[in-house]
């Protein structure tokens, strides 16, 4: 990693943020449509779990969703603290890494909870 030029690294992050944005555009629409569809007959824990437990399509979809979020949001957060709070990259990069780990951990835990519970 240390041998990768910083500009190349930043350009790659930009690229990955754009790609993850495209994935999120689809995921968010599917996610919202599912919510609208699912709550039509009322909402209950049993009903949700009946739909999600052992459902591989659901599991894979939210795995992709969580990965895209964990890539997209931390890069944006780093830009915000750099431009609005004046943080140097040496401070914004660790913050973004911690935030990415947090989103990934919480997101996967949540998806796993309703898939495997």
């Amino acid at each position: 990693m240390a041998t990768v030029p910083w500009g190349r690294w930043q350009a790659r992050l930009w690229y990955w943020q754009r790609i993850s944005a495209m994935v999120l555009a689809v995921c968010v629409v599917v996610h919202l449509a599912t919510i609208v569809h699912a709550v039509r007959g009322g909402l209950g824990a049993g009903e949700i779990l009946a739909r999600t437990q052992g459902n591989w399509a659901f599991g894979l979809f939210y795995l992709v969703f969580v990965l895209a979020v964990a890539v997209h949001a931390p890069i944006g957060l780093a830009r915000i603290v750099e431009e609005w709070l004046g943080w140097p990259t040496r401070a914004s990069a660790p913050l973004a890494a911690v935030f990415a780990a947090l989103l990934l951990g919480l997101g996967l835990r949540a998806a796993w909870a309703v898939f495997a519970a």
Partner: protein
């Protein structure tokens, strides 16, 4: 054009001093077809001989008279008073995002140094002994280069850019526009170095596509479009490990 002025005298606030100066108000007689540069020149010649400002051609060719007029960066020589003076008032300040030397004159060294950092120099391979390169005028690359080639380096886009104010190391719209014209010049052989120079957070990838540069450019150039082209081209090169 609607003449918004009713009175015969203008009330003109002009920035005096360096970074920590203040606005001083001068009364200036209103005249037909008066430009903002005419107003500044009147003040210097009749009211305040120590007023510092920069101009040369007076006809929109040299790019040296840009200032902030009522909050917006403009060429003063091509801005009619009747177009911008609301209620007979003008506020004239130096360009934003550049250090103030004195009064209305800014230090543009950093602005032009960034052109150099963006590899804004043409790097050809042919000598006088070689034949001319044949460049098809209608080719997509040449059309893209032509779209940005008329920049005269006035600094209006740079002064209007929010990202420059947030990230002082950001190369800015003018330098990146220059890089984009060269990135589309088939005679130039420094493409990889140039893409490496403009990639990243001090370069094209910091642009938020606000479009202030394109909105304010007196030459109707669209640096935003060129920067978008650089983003894509340099990100692809970065993903391939070429830069």
């Amino acid at each position: 054009m609607t003449d918004v002025l009713k009175s015969d005298a203008l009330e003109v606030s002009v920035w005096r001093g360096g970074a920590h100066g203040r606005f001083v108000t001068y009364p200036v007689p209103r005249q037909d077809s008066q430009t903002v540069l005419d107003v500044v020149t009147y003040i210097q010649r009749r009211l305040e001989p120590s007023l510092s400002y920069r101009f040369s051609c007076r006809v929109g060719m040299c790019g040296s008279c840009a200032m902030t007029v009522n909050g917006i960066a403009r060429w003063t020589c091509r801005t009619h008073v009747s177009k911008v003076a609301e209620d007979g008032r003008l506020e004239i300040a130096p360009l934003s995002n550049l250090p103030v030397i004195k009064d209305l004159a800014t230090d543009m060294r950093e602005f032009f140094d960034k052109w150099a950092r963006a590899k804004g120099q043409f790097h050809g391979t042919r000598t006088r002994h070689d034949d001319f390169e044949k460049v098809e005028p209608a080719s997509p690359a040449r059309v893209a280069a032509n779209a940005g080639i008329e920049c005269i380096g006035c600094g209006v886009c740079y002064a209007s850019c929010d990202v420059v104010s947030w990230r002082p190391d950001y190369l800015g719209p003018a330098a990146l526009n220059r890089a984009w014209t060269l990135a589309n010049d088939v005679r130039d052989d420094a493409q990889r170095d140039r893409l490496a120079a403009v990639a990243g957070d001090a370069g094209c990838h910091a642009c938020h596509t606000h479009g202030s540069c394109s909105e304010r450019c007196p030459k109707q150039i669209e640096p935003t479009a060129g920067i978008a082209g650089l983003k894509l081209r340099s990100a692809r090169a970065a993903m391939r490990g070429e830069i």
